[in-house]
């Protein structure tokens, strides 16, 4: 390359998506997104950092009905900034994303889901993955609405982020909730109790996480279990554990620094806050 050679177009990390084969609408719609930067890739300084709370930023979603017809979705926003993260050459990061937080009106049906990230003028899209959205039973739908509205939000758009970010209520799920709906809600129920409950991180019962064994949730559940483990073990995490999952290495490193997801959000949202106005009572005993 001479000084006059024009630069090559920026190669964004490869984007891949895992989705459940089927989702009940009205409940959290969690997918797993992995960004994979090849060893000879550039250093990235501000890629969007996705999470279960992510709701806006340079990320686009497109759902193309398998049966044809107009798609559902939106383009990455160039104006709204979100939390960002770096990505080194050869690094991979796996993150959850809850599609419910985008307030999409998804008609029931089978779709091909594509996720796009944008950096500057460049975009990278995932391969489409097949998934189905179905309308829940009336009973499940009613329970979804009731639980969702426990989270403070000006408008119920179907988003589940407020359930975790603004919800100082005791959450008791209707025993009539179907198994499928319960499975879709399980991570949120665990996180709500972990963030707002009386138990410090080290004392949390990891049992509910062990039930989360779908390909979408398994890595996240494992990381959260390691966070609980590390909080109770002064030796922290074994180096072998930190490097055991390439996509989750960054999360393990944060746990090592005392910045695990539960620890941080418990402090900023839940029972670990430095309260201006302490709550009259706590939601869980």
């Amino acid at each position: 390359m001479t000084p006059e050679d024009p630069p090559q177009p920026l190669q964004l990390p490869a984007v891949s998506v895992k989705a459940e084969p089927r989702y009940l609408l009205g409940f959290p719609l969690l997918i797993s997104v992995t960004l994979d930067n090849p060893a000879d890739g550039p250093r990235f300084f501000e890629l969007p950092e996705l999470s279960i709370l992510f709701r806006e930023g340079p990320v686009g979603v497109h759902l193309q009905p398998e049966a044809g017809g107009p798609g559902v979705g939106f383009a990455p926003s160039t104006a709204r900034r979100s939390a960002t993260m770096p990505l080194q050459p050869g690094e991979q990061r796996q993150m959850l994303l809850d599609l419910s937080n985008f307030g999409l009106d998804i008609p029931p049906g089978v779709y091909w889901l594509t996720l796009t990230i944008r950096v500057g003028r460049y975009s990278a899209a995932s391969q489409p993955v097949r998934t189905e959205f179905v309308r829940p039973s009336a009973s499940d739908e009613g329970e979804a609405v009731r639980l969702r509205r426990m989270g403070a939000s000006p408008t119920d758009t179907g988003a589940w982020a407020p359930f975790l970010t603004d919800n100082w209520n005791t959450v008791t799920v209707s025993p009539a909730l179907s198994l499928e709906a319960h499975r879709q809600l399980a991570l949120h129920l665990f996180l709500h109790r972990a963030i707002y409950g009386p138990d410090p991180v080290a004392n949390l019962d990891p049992a509910p996480l062990k039930q989360l064994n779908s390909p979408v949730l398994q890595s996240e559940a494992t990381v959260l279990q390691w966070e609980i483990h590390a909080a109770g073990d002064p030796r922290g995490l074994h180096p072998g554990i930190i490097g055991s999952s390439a996509g989750m290495r960054f999360r393990m490193e944060r746990i090592e620094k005392g910045e695990g997801f539960i620890t941080k959000y418990r402090k900023v949202l839940g029972a670990g806050q430095d309260f201006a106005h302490p709550p009259a009572s706590y939601p869980y005993r």
């Binding site: 300084f45 501000e46 926003s77 104006a79 000006p154 100082w168």
Partner: protein, 680 residues
């Protein structure tokens, strides 16, 4: 009672004369006339003197009920229609006064440059009541007699307009320090100053109610003691006068065309034309009369008069977009028994939006100039009242929201910008959930203070969205931004170049590959599209050819590189689009001076569902042009060509005011439909 006169004054034309006028030849000139508080708007422009006659005959006549002691002031000002800003060339004044007789008059302007020809076109005398009349007698015992049939003359007086607010009046019983109220109710106020406000989504008492905007009008038939025929009615007329905003010489022509399109034909101003309410068809509610009481029964545009009290009332429902304006006229319906029925009239009443602001100041934060916001929103017809001020201390007086984690800090701000309830301990928006309330907080910092370091300074090559360094760098820290300096402003300056916004622009750094830094172009958006940009301007758009040498600095993250001046927390996302939540925190340790007001006006504009980074100048004609508050200081302003292009080195021009597209978007906005507010 002395004699009253119904007098009609009309401005006919302006005769431009005299060789002295030649100093203006080549520049467009226009006139603005004023009779009492009624403006004619801008006349057509002209560019030559000599025997030019500027016709004002399209200006409506102005009617006044006067007596012998009244004077009717008339003014005419000539304005130079400059390319960048307008300046007043001269002004004349005249008075119409007793004796009231129809006829034409002329008033010469300063230096004999122009003469206003005006006239009193009509005078109707309303004689004083006479206590005694002499009648001729027939003869004693005659069965015949003479009777005096006193003429029945009446006029309508507007007694009260409930729901009409007068600017400058603060009618609150208690006025806590640090709070403001920019208009209030005043008994008998009928907007004769043409400034009366009717608020969208508000009942007359100010209570916020969705899709509710009206005034209740009471008129009294005069003179007192008059006995009207049974069944007499008031005939109501609703006029849609010209939107006068663009007649203000300070308003840029391009903005004027957006605000009041029916005053223009192409690029030419054709007059101050009426019937221009809801020019963009954004209103959901349209004007209509509504009956208030059976004794003032409404049929069509007529209401019954309560004869014993000589009172009639009606409700006028108005458009739900700001800037729509009305004159209501009323007269007693013609009746053979009524000899003369004189029309009464309101002044111009205009629809405004109004928001109540809860201002929360962290005890250790600096004070924000919240009272100055409203002035900057006047042109958008938005009244911003600081209705509650609270100073918070203890755990709510935060030095920062997190030491270093941007994501956590944003989440903490979201939490803080909510109501403190059992369900959300820690919030400081006490009016959260009450419709009509926005929230502004003076905070300290989002994150801990951190000094940015200059990682590289020197010459580099520009390749559109890539900056090529002379060698592969060994940066001591992560590069965050690239400053690009104006070569004309740095000649002779030695490194390190100062952090002077007048001499540089800056870009975020997205990635690094070898010597190449990929920068994030500046995205520009139409006001109604916050997500998809119409231009992503990189160095090539900013005038740097591929391979051109540029003087740069590469900075690490820190206060001088990237600092959060304000955040709009809350809101909701629908269909992937974010709607703002009417909440704003300004970090006063990061934003200083005039930038605080700009930041507040910027973030508040978002609450009306506006995108930022428009690339527009603001609405004001002035010697040093300033740009819309929705721009970021480090981007260039764009020109108005079909494919808009950056105007070199026009960064750092942001003002607290807005551009035309943002003004009309706010006027047309429907806060009740914003899911981020949840007021629907």
């Amino acid at each position: 009672m002395s004699t009253l006169y119904l007098v009609t004054v009309k401005l006919d034309n302006v005769s431009v004369q005299g060789s002295g006028w030649t100093k203006f030849a080549g520049s467009d000139v226009y006139f603005i006339g004023k009779v009492v508080d009624h403006s004619t708007g801008r006349s057509k422009t002209f560019s030559a003197g000599g025997s030019t006659v500027v016709d004002l005959s399209a200006t409506p006549p102005f009617e006044f009920l006067v007596d012998d002691s009244t004077t009717i002031p008339i003014e005419l000002a000539a304005w130079d229609d400059g390319f960048l800003w307008d300046s007043q060339i001269g002004k004349l004044s005249a008075n119409a006064q007793s004796p009231w007789t129809p006829g034409s008059q002329s008033t010469a302007g300063p230096g004999g440059l122009f003469t206003l020809n005006w006239s009193i076109t009509k005078v109707v005398a309303v004689p004083a009541a006479v206590g005694t009349a002499w009648l001729s007698k027939q003869f004693d015992g005659s069965q015949f007699f003479n009777a005096l049939n006193a003429p029945l003359i009446c006029w309508v007086q507007f007694k009260d307009i409930d729901g009409l607010y007068k600017p400058g009046v603060d009618d609150r019983a208690v006025k806590p320090p640090g709070t403001t109220r920019n208009s209030g109710r005043e008994a008998g106020y009928t907007s004769q100053d043409n400034k009366g406000r009717i608020f969208t989504n508000r009942k007359p008492d100010g209570t916020w109610v969705k899709d509710t905007q009206f005034v209740d009008i009471t008129v009294e038939v005069m003179p007192k003691g008059i006995v009207l025929p049974a069944g007499s009615k008031i005939v109501w007329t609703i006029e849609d006068p010209d939107d006068p905003t663009n007649e203000d010489p300070r308003v840029r022509k391009e903005v004027g065309k957006l605000l009041d399109p029916n005053d223009y034909s192409g690029a030419t101003k054709t007059g101050a034309n009426p019937n221009d309410n809801d020019p963009r068809g954004k209103a959901d509610q349209t004007p209509k009369l509504e009956q208030l009481d059976a004794k003032y029964a409404l049929a069509g545009n007529e209401t019954l008069i309560d004869i014993p009290n000589r009172i009639s009332k009606v409700r006028l429902n108005v458009h739900d977009v700001a800037g729509a304006n009305y004159i209501v006229r009323a007269k007693v319906k013609d009746d053979p028994k009524i000899n003369l029925s004189v029309l009464g009239s309101t002044g111009i009443m205009t629809v405004w939006h109004r928001i109540d602001l809860e201002y929360v100041k962290m005890d250790s934060a600096d004070e924000l100039p919240v009272a100055d916001i409203s002035t900057n929103y006047d042109i958008a017809c938005v009244q911003v009242d600081v209705s509650l001020k609270r100073v918070v201390s203890g755990a709510s007086d935060k030095a920062m929201f997190d030491s270093a984690d941007d994501n956590i800090a944003h989440t903490a701000v979201e939490k803080f910008a909510n109501k403190s309830t059992a369900a959300n301990p820690g919030g400081e928006f006490s009016k959260d959930g009450e419709k009509g309330w926005f929230w502004i907080c003076a905070g300290n910092r989002l994150l801990s203070s951190k000094a940015a370091a200059i990682l590289f300074e020197g010459d580099a090559k520009a390749f559109a969205d890539t900056v090529r360094l002379p060698a592969v760098p060994a940066f001591a820290d992560t590069p965050a931004i690239v400053r690009v300096f104006n070569p004309a402003k740095i000649a002779g300056k030695v490194p390190p170049l100062p952090n002077d916004h007048d001499i540089h622009i800056k870009f975020r750094v997205a990635a690094q590959a070898g010597r190449d830094l990929t920068i994030v172009p500046h995205d520009f958006h139409k006001v109604d599209n916050p997500d998809v940009s119409f231009l992503d301007a990189d160095l090539s758009h900013y005038g740097f050819a591929a391979g051109a040498t540029i003087r740069i600095q590469v900075l690490s993250a820190g206060d001088e590189a990237l600092v959060t001046g304000g955040i709009s927390p809350g809101g909701a996302t629908v269909g992937g689009k974010h709607f703002f939540g009417g909440r704003l925190i300004v970090f006063t340790k990061n934003v200083t001076g005039a930038d605080r007001l700009i930041t507040m006006c910027h973030e508040l504009c978002h609450a009306f569902d506006n995108a930022h980074k428009c690339g527009n100048w603001d609405w004001i004609n002035q010697a040093t042009t300033t740009s819309c508050c929705m721009n970021y200081w480090f981007a260039f302003v764009l020109d108005d060509s079909g494919v808009r292009k950056p105007i070199p080195w026009t960064q750092n021009r942001c003002s607290a005011t807005m551009c035309g597209p943002h003004i009309v978007n706010i006027r047309d906005g429907h806060l009740e439909k914003n899911p981020g507010l949840g007021w629907g």
